[in-house]
Structure formats: C-alpha cells, structure tokens
Subunit: 264 residues, 5 copies
C-alpha cells in the first residue's frame, strides 16, 4: 500500500481537528446538512459529467494506482538486458520461455510479438497504440479527481449562499447573526478542505504515477525493439539507462547481479 | 437515453431543495426577476458569441450525444475482424454486401472506398479529414456549454450587484438590509448552481463522449486500412485490441462468437 | 449584417435595464465618473498593450468579421468540383477564364498559380504561408477583445476601490455609508457587464468565425491541389465533402445543380 | 520612441488621478508605507525568481523592444527581391557588397552564409536555431513582466491584510474603523493599478512585438533560401508576399520603386 | 551559492516585518497555531500528492539548482570548438583523453560514445532520451513548488475559515470581534506571503534554470554530432553560436583564447 497518501490525509485531518479543538467550540464545526450539500452536490455533478459505470471503473484504476508497483524501471532494464544477452546467444525464439515468467502483461505481449516474428514496424505500432490508450485512460482517472477538486469548493460556496440567504431573511434577532454565519461558513470550510487535502493532491499523484508507468512502458518498447533488431546488449543497456536519473543507473547493475533469477 | 446525466441533475436539485426546505424560509429563494437576469443574461451573451443557427445545431448535437451509442469499440472490432476474414477468403469485393448492412455511416463509407479500389493513401486522407472535422464540431458543442458555465456565475454576480446597489441606496431602514441582501444573493446562488450542476459537467461529459467516439472511429480507420492491405485477420485483431482497456479485450471474442449475424 | 450579435447585446442591455427600472432606484446606477474610469482605464491599458494603428486595424478586421460571409464551404466545394470537371475536359489552362469570375482573392490566387504552371510543392507552400498568417492576424484581433474582456472588470474593481477609499475616510455620517458603497459598486457592475455581455462573447465569436474561414481556405487548398494533380472530379468531391458536417453534404449537390453559372 | 505605451500609461494615471481629486479626499490615497510594501514585495519576489543580472538584461531587451523598428516586413521583402534579381543577373557572389550595407545583423549573416557557399541545409539550420533562441529570450522578457503583473496585486493584498490585522486589533474606537480600512485598501489599489495599467499590457505588447520580429525573420529565412536556390525573383516576391496582410502587399511595390538605393 | 534568491527572500521578509513593526501591534501577527495550520496543511497535502522519497529527492534537485553552474554555454562552445579542431587534426580517437578531463557527465558520455564509434543515429537517440528525461525530472521539481504555491494560500484560507467560525459562534461580546477577526486573517497573510515570496518565485526560478541547462545540453548534442560528422571547426562554431544571445557570442572567442587549458 502507498503509505504516504494515507499518512498525508490522516495527518492533515488530525492537524485541522486539533486546531478546532483548541478553539474550544467544536460543535460549531459540525453541520450534517452542510456535509450532505457538499458531498451530495459534488457527487451529483460528477454523475452528470460521467456515467456511473465509468466513475466506478476510475475508482478501481485509482486503487490500482495506489498499490506499490513492483516493476521499477531499474528492474525492467535489468530484465531486458538479460533478454538481450540470451537472444544474442540463443536466438529470439529462446525468449519464449522467459516471457512466460514475466509478470507485466505489456512486456509479455511485446516479447511474444517478437518471438512470433512480427514485423518490427507492427510491433512498435501495436505497443504504441496500447501506450497511447493507457495514457488516455489514466487521464480520465485524473480528470475525475480534478472535477471533484473543482466541484467540492463550488458546492461549499453554494451551501454557504444557502445558509446566508436563510440567515439574512430573519435578521430581526442580531444575536443570531454570528452563529448563523458560522454555520453558513462550515460548508465552504468542508469543500476547501476536501479539495485541497484529498482531491487535488490525489489528482496530482495520479499524474505522477501515470508518468512513471508510461516511462517504464517506453523503456520496455525501446528495449524490445532493440532486442528484435539484434543490437549489442551493452548498447541496449546504455540506451535504456538514458531513461533513468543518474543516481538510479548504478542500481541496474546491482539488480542484474543479484537478480539472476528474474532475467534469465 | 443516458440515465446518469438526468439522475445527477435531478438528485442534485432535490438535495439542494431539501436543504432549503429544512432551512424553513423557502420564499426567500424565489426571485423570479433574478432568474430572468441570470438565464436571460447568459442567453444574451451566448447569442453574441454564436449565431442562433449554430446554437440550435449544437443543442441537437448534444441531444445525439446523450443517446446511448450502439456501436461500442468492442463490437466494431468484432465486425472488422469478421470483414478481415471474409476479405481474406473471398476478396475485397465481397465486402460490398457486408457494408450495406452496417449502421455506422463512417464505417460504411470507409469500406465502400476500399471496395471501389480507392488508393490507400486517399482512403486514409479522406477518413482522417472527416475525423478531424468531426472533432472540430464536437469541440464547438463543448465550447457552447463551457461558455454557458462561465457566463451563468458572471450574470449571477451582476444580478447580485444590481440587488446590492438597489438596497444600499435606501439604507434608512436597517430592517430591510437583511432581506435585501438575501434577495441580492439569490442570483449568485442560481448562477453557481446552474454552472456547477448542469453546464460545466455537461461540457465535461461531451468531451468524454467525443473522445470515445473518436477512439471508435480511429479503430475503424486502422481496421479498414489493415483489411485493404490484406493483413492477417489475427494481426488485425491484435492491432485493434491494443485500443481497448485490458478488461474489454475478452469481450471482443464473446461478441464475435455470439454475433455472427453482425459481421458476416 | 450579423444580426445575432446585435440582438444579443441589445436584448442583454434591455433585460438588465428592465431589472434596474423595476428596482425603482435608477439614479443609483448612473455614475458618469465611474463610466469614465472603466472605459478610460480599459482603453488606456489597451493603448499600452498595442499601438493605436493596430487597434484601429483590428477594429476593422472585426467589422469585416461581422459581415455575413458569402462563400460558405458548400458553395466553394461546388465551384471547385466544377473546376475539376472543366480541367479534366479542357485542361488546366481553361481555368484561367473561370478564375477571373471568382470573388474570393485566395481562391483566385490559387487557381492563377495552377494556371501559371507553378510547381505543386510551391503552390501548397505559398497558400499555407498565407493561411498561417491569416490565422495569426485573426488571433491578434481576438487577443484585443480578450484583453478588453480582462481589463474592464479590473478597472471596474479599481473604480470600486477608489469609491470605497473615498467613502471610508469620511465615515462620520452613517447615513452616507449605503449610498457611498452603492456608487462604489457601480463601476464593478459596469466592468462586469461590458466584459460578459460584449467583449468576452465577441472574442469567442471572432474565434469561431476565424475557424470557419480557415476551414473554407483549407478546403480550397485541398481542392486546388487535387485539380492540379488531375484527380477524378468524383474523388475531388468526395475528399472535399469530408470537411463538411454530414447534413451539409447534400447541399453541395443542390448548389451545383442550381448554380451552373458559378462554377461553369 | 513608441509613443502609444507612454501615452497610455500617462493618460491612465491622469484619469485615475482626476477621479481621485474629484472625490475630494486626495490625502487618503497617499500611503508611502503601502507603496513600499507593494513595490518592495514585488521586487523582492522577482529577485527570488530571477538573478539580478537577468532582470537588468530583460529590462534592456524591453527598452530595445520599445524603440520603433526600422525594418518593416514590407521593406525587407523589397530588399530581398532586389537581392534575388541581382543574384540572377550577376550570381550569388555579387551579394557580398550588398550584404555589407544591410543594417539587420540577422539578414547580413544569412546572406554572408549564402555568399560563402554554405550548404542550404546548414544555412536553414543555423538561422532556425538563432530564431528559436531569439524567441526564447523574448519569452523570458515577457515572463518577467507577467510575473510582475501577478505579484503586484498579490503584495497589494498582503499589504491590505497587514492593514486590516493592525486595525482590527485596536477596535475600541469605532471612528477609526473607516480611515483604517481606507488605508488598508490603498495597497490593493496600488497593486491592481500597476498590474493592469503597466505590467500586464507591457507583457502583452512584448508578445506582439516579438511575433512581429519573428515574422520578419521568417520572411528573411524564406527569402535567403529562395535566393540561394536560384528561384525566379517573381516567385520569391510572390512567396514572401504571402506573409503579409493583403493591404500591405502593395507597399512592397512602392517601396521597391522608391527605394532603389536600399536593395540594389 | 545563488545570492539573489536568498537576498530576495530576506529583503522581502525584512520589508514586511518593518511594515508590521511600524504599525505598532506586532503581537497581533504572531499566531503559532495559524503557522501550524498553514505549514502543516500544506505539507500534508504535498505528502498526499507525492511519496516522501520523491519530495526529499526534489528538495535535493532544488539545492543543486541553486548552486551556481560552472559550465556556461559560452564555455561549452569554446570546449567543443577545441574538440572539433583536435578531431580534425588528429582524428576522433584523440578526443578520448580530452573527454576524461571534462567535468560535465553528459558531455563526457557523448564524446565517449563518439570515440567508441557508435552510430550517429544512436548517439543522437541516446542523448535525446537523456535530455527528455532530465527535462521531465526538472518539471517534477517545479511541480512540487507550484503545488506548494497553490496549497499555502488554500490552507491560509482554511485557517481563516476556522478562525471565523470560532469567532462567530461566540458573538455575544462585540469587543472580541475585531481581535478575533485579526487572528483569523493572520493565516491568510501567512499563506499568501509564503506562496508569493517563496514558493511561486522558486518554481519560476527552477523553470528558468532548467531551460538554461537544457539549452547547454542541446548545444552539446549539436556540437558532438557536428564533430562526429567531421564538420569544419569554423562551421561548428558558427552553428553553436546561433544558440547564444548576440552579446554573448564574443565571449566564446575570449574564453577560447584564455582557456587553452580547458579545451585542449
């Protein structure tokens, strides 16, 4: 599980909660109807913008995105360099057995295409299309959270307007102004907190995660095509290491030495 | 009919209505003149930005967009793989009869071009131009709703300014301040609600719908050209499945088996 | 004349005016100095951003843009298909006489280049450059109105700040607060109304108009080059119809039949 | 000197000043400390964002940008057509003497490269790189003014917050509220005025200027390469006129006739 | 160390501090709990958006970015022209010794690839991939500061809402309104100041720094490939000088003359 996200949300809520408790008047922050307006309105607006089926599917994508990915680029490069060496020594067909043991569906498919003797142009075309649409699906997931992040404060403000209009109509008792306005402001508070602590940062995290996954897949395509072209394993390694930050490059070497069982 | 959009709008309005009823002072939220300012102003501004003819046409596009599309990409792929097999066995001319039975105008046109022996370059060029302008027309429809979504809160605020200026001029009676400000705020409330519950989410939905339709059309172009090139039906299938989410890929198989009557 | 724009502006102003009259206190909305601050400030800011010569030229562009264009894409396609047939029967030189009768300067120039036997690459290059810079000039016109649309509310707010600072300094008489604040708010009202009813929608209209004109010109380039390449008139027609919405395609046929005098 | 910018700033300030004087309470708008907060804060923030050396250099770029450019595209085209004719009659080497008399460094360099017999690919590559980085440097200058335009209102608001916090702490004397709030609002007024009358429009002007200069340079590259390719001077003229607005095209002819001394 | 950034932050804080001290009521600006809400909330939100490991790594990138870079483009060009001359006289292999002495890892790698006789296409491909991902990593660092710059004011406003709700609930004592609101506003003040004086300008500086580093690397790629292609050292110099502002070009000459020990 991705610990940081949960730690961030919990610590943020705890912090805000402590600040409220210290202020003394915790009751004033509880407004059940206000919670309904903000959450209900945000959800209704999201339902207008995407079919329920898609919302559920995006939520699943998100869940997957928050799992820790096992295949870091460093590992993938180690595997691919191993494949390159094997292919050099024993031919492309020898990769069939290796491909079976690979976890990643994308890499497995790519190697399978190479083993099947598919034309290199077609291999790149198939894998590129797959990558483009993976990116597209990821963007839709981010778009959902960006929409939530824009709608929560909007419905927070709508809730505050409802509260203010209610309060202002019965302005005969001046003592009621303060508490009435306090209640009205709670929905803006809820909406802002949800957007800035949960929705907007999750949208940002999905974007980073998506970039990382796409980087890994681009490394795979480059590697698979180099192997198919019969390039020298050292060149394959050099080319693929260019995708990494300088400090990650040495890890490839150590993974390869330690991880003989993965790549060959 | 696309149920989610209507369900979202109705549930959102119901939720807000309940919140108002519970506040007790329903009358304060009814401001007929305010409704006129927000809706009238938003419409007038839209009329300045696009000729009436275009507004009506975009509204029709929207209606079409909310119908449930029959041709999902999975189905289209099943049909195209069927075509690829038939073309392999009986030649491209055999597709003429098949094309007659296809609902989708775009696919029918593409297959017809292939049957007519049009040059592949020209087939791609004609279908690409058609797709580009379909996208353009969809963007104009989205643009209309984005404009509505920006103008509704703006005219809501203009209505509130009118209400405030009216109220502030006759500030001799302090008892009138509250209700006067309440009335002034209703237009901001109307504008925000329309924008965030209706216009902005519909613009977003049109965008998603448009992407999906364009994906389907891209699948068609790729498939039509593969068939014209005489590619192996298995490769055609593989190539086109790359456009789908992994979980949708198995559906192609089941559609093909169940739907012999569609593709041949 | 483009009726919708004027109808939109007039109906929007009438609507707001009625709302003010019904509020009773029309005098409070008249603030001559405020009008000067908003219009003068917006104009001064625009003068800083573009030389007066350019502002005047853009205003002329706008005037042209609001005239109803005579050459719809459907008509242009009918003309070009007529040209394609003539060129097939009588050779490219036969188009010289036809080109003379064409209103549109861009089309006339393109056909003239073809008649002169210019290299196809060069024809495309010259027409593409011309189109790129037409788009550039259109964008500058839009940019002017977008700037006006951003500056009007900004100077509206500056006017309100001036009014508030003036009023707050002499807060000894509580009866003056209300009217003083009312006057201060009028400039925000003016700025918002100008931006949202006039400047922003006109910027949007210019964008739509520009897209439409560029589409027509792209149709022309495609058609001219197809004619020069000696393509079959039926193919030329098919290719160019791909630029149109499905419902506009049948109009080409009827124009061609009715309009023999245009294209032949 | 570029008169419009200075006229715009002076007329804008005069207008605002008149509005303040008419309000009677000029003193309330003078807040020396507030000016320091807005200008000092904006400058400090800019210093964080760019090294002082760059800020000074960008300011110089701006000064240059506000000078009236001598080489309008029309003139450059006239010069280049003259070069094309000379090169046709007397060969490319004859351009060496002409190039000496050209003011523009970019054009001089391009012609020099051609005279030196540099490979056309390399000529285009060198001039394109130069143009790209010219654009880059211009964008940095715009970026500086956009940053100033965003920071001035931000520090205006920070100044207002400081004023409000100061005032609200000592709320025992109700008579002090008004003037205190008036003083607090002045910084927002300063920040808005600086941003909307000076920084934002200057950023916009730099953008327009940069586009115009880049257009002129693109005309030069196109012309230089056409001359090197030995194209017909009439074609060179036609090609380059495509970069101009229709109404500017006739000027090329009159410049060429009047300006024999420039181009040959 | 990059002096300007620190000078900007310190002078900005000093300026604001002086303004507060002059206002007299320094105590009112100290709100420890408010500082916790703004900094804690901003940090919690950032933790949700990126794993802690990445945040730490980006902070390191930032530290590196603020060090003064030693390799200015002018120097790099001088070194590369020296290499070009050496390669012309003594062959590409002679560059091996030179490459050893180069500080910059990217340049060293590029030259090493050339010395190894790698195919030019592959050299460009490896260096381009490396550059793309360098840019990507830089963008993530900027993205972190942009997120901080957006979240600080958001949590400032959330803190103000908490303060207002607290205060409004106990509105029985009118004397408490002012100080309560003052305390509530401090968090908005903190958030705005952090965003506009620190986070937003640092994000901007990182962007400028990144562009400069990428420019230097592009110069290197162009130079390395020109050397590999055996181009004339004078052409290499001309080509690479096109990357510089005109006034920086003369420096190359003086560096080359003074810096014989660097390039050869």
């Amino acid at each position: 599980m991705d610990f940081a996200t949960i730690a961030g949300i919990i610590s943020g809520i705890a912090l805000i909660f402590l600040a409220i408790v210290q202020g003394g008047a915790v009751d004033g922050f509880i407004n059940v109807q206000g919670v309904l307006i903000v959450i209900g309105g945000t959800f209704a607006s999201t339902l207008v913008s995407s079919p329920l089926k898609d919302i559920i599917q995006h939520m699943k994508t998100v869940k997957v995105a928050f799992k820790n990915t096992k295949n870091e680029p460093e590992e993938i490069i180690a595997i691919l360099v191993g494949f390159a060496e094997k292919a050099r020594r024993e031919g492309l067909l020898a990769l069939e057995a290796e491909a079976e043991q690979v976890d990643d569906e994308f890499l497995k498919k790519g190697v399978q295409l190479v083993v099947d003797g598919t034309d290199p142009e077609l291999v790149r075309s198939i894998l590129d299309i797959e990558l483009t649409f993976l990116e597209e699906r990821h963007k839709e997931g981010q778009g959902l959270f960006e929409h939530l992040g824009a709608m929560a404060p909007a419905f927070g403000m709508i809730g505050t307007l409802i509260g203010l209009i209610n309060m202002l109509q019965v302005l005969d008792n001046p003592d009621a102004i303060g508490p009435g306005m306090a209640v009205a402001l709670t929905t803006t508070f809820y909406g802002s907190l949800m957007a800035n602590l949960i929705f907007i940062p999750i949208a940002k995290k999905l974007k980073t995660r998506s970039s990382a996954e796409i980087l890994t897949k681009e490394v795979m395509i480059e590697g698979i095509l180099s192997i198919q072209a019969g390039e020298n394993p050292r060149i394959v390694e050099e080319k693929m290491k260019a995708f990494l930050a300088p400090k990650s490059r040495d890890q490839v070497e150590s993974i390869r030495r330690g991880g003989v069982n993965i790549g060959g």
